[in-house]
């Protein structure tokens, strides 16, 4: 591999990783700023979506795109139920959230382990073949993932800024009581936020499932990444999430070339710690 193609491949990988991370982090940020819940279980939702998509394509022989849609629908409904029965109880309560999320993680992870075992598999591809530009080739798979990720990202951003519901979400995030005074339905918007957040996680899980091979425990890693993005970017700032996601995606795609995977993780983590020590609010954070 020439160095140019290495750079291009790394570039594509980093954009893919960044867009997936940003999708996940955006969903997580919705849940956090609207309901005050640190959804530690977000990574597990990602993992469960990947497994669901796998089941749909392998067992039922569905077209991968159809499986993706079905997975998203199921996970979104599950998210609404979670919000209604569990998360609502713990708005703003950190201790209860930790316990409840760990319970959810235990149940979901164990269900996957029971039904799936420790076998590591991949979802059949969404798109086949390779695209070639000169000496550089990249699979259509990755291009498709990249496109879907970026399109979804743009859609979500448009939703937040241009639609009424999106602005209601911003209002709740800025000042919950003020939003109630304006007649905004907290529970309704929270349900909508859950749908969006869990759908984004489902899409990320399904797409990444065909890109990486996976295990029932990959959700933990993803949750850690989401937390890194959120804190680095700063709470309460969408721009922060975008930039932080881009930075982290690029680092995660490029560092493992030079050092081994664990050392790359360690470097990224310690760099984040140092940044936070000097700027606790994160790069773009506003409020506490």
């Amino acid at each position: 591999m020439t160095s140019l193609s290495l750079i291009l491949t790394t570039g594509v990988n980093s954009i893919i990783l960044s867009s997936m991370y940003i999708l996940l982090a955006l969903g997580f940020a919705f849940l956090f700023s609207i309901m005050g819940i640190l959804n530690f279980a977000h990574g597990v939702i990602y993992m469960v979506s990947a497994f669901l998509c796998l089941k749909f394509t392998l067992l039922l022989g569905m077209n991968p795109w159809l499986a993706l849609v079905c997975t998203v629908i199921i996970v979104a409904i599950f998210g609404v139920l979670l919000e209604r029965f569990i998360f609502r109880r713990f708005y703003g309560d950190m201790n209860g959230t930790i316990v409840a999320c760990l319970g959810i993680i235990a149940v979901l992870q164990n269900s996957v382990v029971i039904t799936e075992g420790y076998v590591v598999e991949k979802i059949p591809e969404f798109a086949h073949g390779f695209m070639r530009i000169g000496a550089f080739s990249v699979s259509w798979e990755r291009i498709v993932t990249l496109l879907v990720g970026v399109i979804l990202l743009v859609l979500v951003l448009l939703f937040i800024n241009r639609t009424k519901q999106g602005q209601q979400m911003q209002a709740i995030a800025q000042d919950t009581e003020g939003a109630i005074f304006q007649g905004i339905s907290i529970h309704g918007i929270a349900a909508l936020a859950c749908i969006i957040a869990f759908s984004l996680a489902a899409v990320s899980g399904s797409l990444m499932g065909s890109y990486l091979s996976f295990s029932p425990y990959m959700g933990d890693n993803i949750t850690m990444k989401i937390l890194q993005i959120l804190v680095l970017g700063g709470i309460g700032s969408i721009n922060g999430i975008l930039y932080a996601g881009l930075i982290l995606g690029t680092l995660d795609a490029s560092l493992p070339i030079f050092v081994n995977a664990a050392a790359a993780q360690a470097i990224v983590l310690f760099v984040i710690v140092v940044i936070l020590l000097f700027r606790p609010k994160g790069l773009f954070g506003r409020e506490v």
Binding site: F40, G92, N95, V231, V288
Partner: protein, 329 residues
């Protein structure tokens, strides 16, 4: 970190009753190996004791308002340093265990200074990342630390024949550690910590040096965490990153929260309830975590302040008084 003020006051029971109960408990524990000969149960008790040391030290740090979400990583520092010193340099575990604890304490103090600038949520986040970073560093130096497979072949304290000497060793270790932490919590120092937790502004205004106290308590907490980890590694003859990663820290926090953060005995009860009890329904094999999760949900939905608050809750219900949650709703 929650919006509600968690009370960390002394329990309202008479202190003498508490003392008698604790003493009786220790006597009962000391007699366990006499009556129970199953090595498996002894093993469970030993691990419970290890986790009791870890969770009690975690709670001690939490009384100052900090959420040190890197606790299992400090256990790992103690464990790995003790393991590597005794395995590669041939030092006796009796020497390396305290050294491991001191190293963990040193690292805790070292990061305690910069971290003490941050409050609640941000402190929790840097702790999480720092802890995860430590684990990754341990895995990255796989040549020395055995990588993600773990380190094995660590010299032991009493040989591998019987678990009974280990049981008494850990019992003594746990009793001494818990006693030290008890005396720390119910001293002027402990009151300072609680003051910092309740309002750092007022505490600062009466002359409590917030940063210094927070660093000291973090050092103490990390010392006991390292001690627990190092002793565990010498007993287990092996240590692996899965014992000390983020999930392990979260479960330690879980033991404390479910047991009850407001009471000194909370982490002990939480550890017994969440670690020891599930071992006895292990017969469910792969369905075990479901039952544990069910227990978690039951506790968090109905007894939000932890199991320790159960007697008070029952008494309130019997007397027909409303709980704070019902009043606020």
């Amino acid at each position: 970190m929650s919006n509600e003020r968690i009370s960390t006051n002394i329990s309202s029971w008479n202190r003498n009753y508490q003392f008698i109960i604790y003493a009786a408990l220790i006597v009962v524990l000391a007699l366990i190996p006499v009556f129970i000969s199953s090595p498996f149960i002894i093993h469970i008790c030993i691990l419970t004791l290890v986790y009791i040391i870890a969770t009690t030290s975690l709670r001690l740090v939490m009384t100052s308002g900090q959420f040190p979400l890197a606790h299992a990583a400090f256990m790992g520092i103690g464990a790995y340093s003790s393991a590597m010193l005794s395995k590669y340099w041939g030092w006796s575990p009796w020497l390396t265990i305290p050294i491991g604890a001191i190293l963990a304490m040193g690292l805790g103090v070292f990061i305690g200074f910069p971290f003490s600038k941050l409050r609640t949520f941000y402190y929790a986040m840097v702790s999480v990342f720092f802890g995860a970073g430590i684990v990754q560093v341990i895995v990255a130096f796989g040549k020395y630390t055995g990588g993600s497979g773990g380190l094995a072949g660590i010299p032991t304290l009493f040989g591998a024949a019987s678990k009974i000497p280990y049981f008494y060793f850990f019992l003594a270790l746990a009793v001494v550690s818990v006693l030290i932490m008890y005396r720390l919590e119910f001293s002027r120092f402990g009151l300072n910590l609680k003051a910092i937790d309740q309002s750092y502004l007022v505490a600062g205004s009466i002359g409590i040096n917030e940063a210094r106290n927070r660093v000291i308590v973090l050092g103490i907490g990390c010392f006991f965490a390292g001690l627990a980890g190092a002793a565990y590694s010498a007993y287990n003859m092996g240590i692996s990153p899965t014992n000390i990663d983020m999930t392990a820290t979260l479960w330690l926090v879980l033991y404390v929260v479910v047991g009850g953060m407001g009471n000194f005995a909370g982490p002990i009860i939480g550890t017994i309830f969440l670690y020891m009890v599930p071992q006895f329904y292990r017969g469910l094999k792969e369905y075990t975590p479901f039952l544990t999760a069910a227990l978690l949900f039951i506790v968090i939905f109905f007894i939000p302040k932890g199991i320790v608050s159960l007697p008070k809750l029952i008494w309130q219900k019997l007397k027909g008084r409303k709980t704070k949650r019902e009043i606020s709703q």
